[in-house]
């Protein structure tokens, strides 16, 4: 039972000395300040690697980029001091293009099913679940898949590399495109239905055109991710010291180029790896920024 009776006057006298002043001698106040400092410090610590990476990219990579030949020359062999990553740049572009050709139409049509025709069906939830599983797939497993389905039968090729990248792009495209389609206002669809359109016509003529900017954003994010991926290419497209002539040949890529030249004992060749990294990061960041700009402009037009 209570030892303080209900009607006992409050222990606080009316004119008690009240100390409102901010004071660090109060443990609570000091502790508060300490934790704020620590979390701010954590943020600074987390940004140090970013600054360091960017610094290294510029300080070690920029010098070599002033020699235009690095964009057109073939990779150095032995103790070569020259050379470049021309074929790697070509390989990356070709494989990302292959991956996009495979995954973009596929992904958008799947998203159309999820957002328009399937919606709450069991099929749709199973497919969404599969897409989410693909999102968390380790990138090297995409390479193993491409290896099992293609390389074991037709040998290493840029096409196999493109398939590996496509597997990684697919979930990004499906999920962002579905999101984009769902954002199309209902009154637009209703207007089209009111004119006697079939569901397909509504989708192709009204919903998809309206959603295009946001879908493009999703595609670009997928492309940015694919362009930087290394693991799925290591044993599918592998590497090559020559230009790519046929799709079914092995090919170099910027990412694998960086991997190959990261640990070589020759200063000039490591610099080339940094230069390739700078190009790759610039490529990836540019795509990311463009994607964000497109979304922002699309929203400004609404």
């Amino acid at each position: 039972m209570s030892t303080i009776p209900l009607d006992e006057p409050s222990e606080r006298p009316f004119e008690e000395a009240i100390d409102f002043d901010y004071s660090l001698t109060r443990w609570r106040t000091l502790f508060n300040l300490l934790l704020t400092g620590l979390s701010g410090l954590a943020t600074v610590v987390a940004l140090i690697p970013l600054i360091s990476v960017l610094y290294m990219l510029v300080s070690h990579g920029l010098a070599r980029l002033t020699e235009v030949s690095v964009f057109t020359a073939l990779p150095p062999t032995g103790k070569d001091v020259g050379g470049g990553f021309g074929n790697a740049l070509q390989g990356t572009l070709v494989m990302v293009a292959v991956a996009s050709l495979l995954s973009v139409p596929f992904g958008i049509l799947v998203a159309v099913y999820l957002a328009e025709f399937g919606k709450d069906s069991t099929t749709a939830s199973v497919v969404r679940f599969a897409a989410k599983i693909l999102t968390g797939l380790p990138s090297i497993i995409a390479g193993v898949f491409a290896f099992a389905i293609l390389v074991m039968h037709t040998g290493r090729s840029s096409f196999a590399g493109g398939v590996g990248l496509a597997v990684l792009m697919l979930p990004t495209i499906i999920l962002t495109a579905e999101e984009a389609l769902l954002q199309v206002p209902r009154k637009m669809r209703e207007a089209a239905y009111g004119l006697g359109c079939t569901h397909t016509q509504v989708v192709l003529r009204v919903v998809l055109p309206t959603a295009i900017p946001n879908i493009v954003t999703g595609v670009m994010l997928g492309v940015a991710r694919a362009a930087g991926e290394t693991a799925p290419l290591l044993f599918t497209a592998a590497f090559s010291y020559f230009w790519l002539n046929k799709l079914m040949q092995p090919t170099a890529s910027l990412a694998v180029f960086i991997y190959r030249y990261s640990g070589v004992p020759y200063e000039r060749q490591v610099e080339l790896a940094w230069a390739a990294s700078l190009v790759l990061v610039t490529l990836v960041l540019t795509i990311n920024v463009l994607a964000q700009l497109i979304t922002r402009r699309a929203h400004a037009h609404r």
Binding site: S2, T3, I4, S10, D21
Partner: protein, 264 residues
Amino acid sequence: MSPALTTDDIIINAKIHKLFYGNFFAVRDTHLAIHHNKITAFIGPSGCGKSSVLRCLNRMNDLVRNFRVEGSVFFRSKDIYAPRVDPVAVRRHIGMVFQQPNPFAMSIFDNVAFGLRLHGMTRDLADRVELALRRAALWDEVKNKLKQSGLALSGGQQQRLCIARAIAPEPAVLLMDEPCSALDPIATGKIEELMKDLKSRYTIVIVTHNLQQASRVADMTGFLYVDTKQGGRTGYLVEYDRTEAIFQDPRDPLTRQYIAGAFG
């Protein structure tokens, strides 16, 4: 002023000249004195700044970025907006109950004990929790389930739990920001009874959009109105007096119009 109200028992003396949120000029020229052990109500149309004024009284507005106030709010002899004042220390003496019941996701007991533990009042913790729950008229309903989550209670019970939580550390003043707006009439009635019981011990300031509620519970009433003449939407205190005076014989035509509109 009524002769019963002397300047001796003024517990809060607020002089808010200008109150801004960023560039938004929210309240002007609101001067009022809150009397000890009385219930003071702020009424007025929505957007008139009554909640903003209430939140000035324990510096809750400090949590809003770009908030700025010109003026002073004296709690007894201390200006709580003086430069070196720690808002956290102010709120320990001037507690608050909010519009939406906001019990924490913990047991009923821990909800009430939260403030006590914060301020190191852990001697006789169980007794103090019981006392607060009794004062909030909730004890009989929850005494057998103190370990249950506060979120399992009904809306009215949740709000009384929040009142118990606010009064447990024995604040001098209790600010209530439309405490019944989310509740049904029966729960509202219980809270109003509770306020009358609590005023012998705490000074209560309440914001309400419900004029009947103000007339039922309040000793003093302040009417705020929103001034749209200068283009903005700046609220200000029109009239502040004993509740009977405001409701039966208001001096300002604006007040008369508002009261008549609401009752007529």
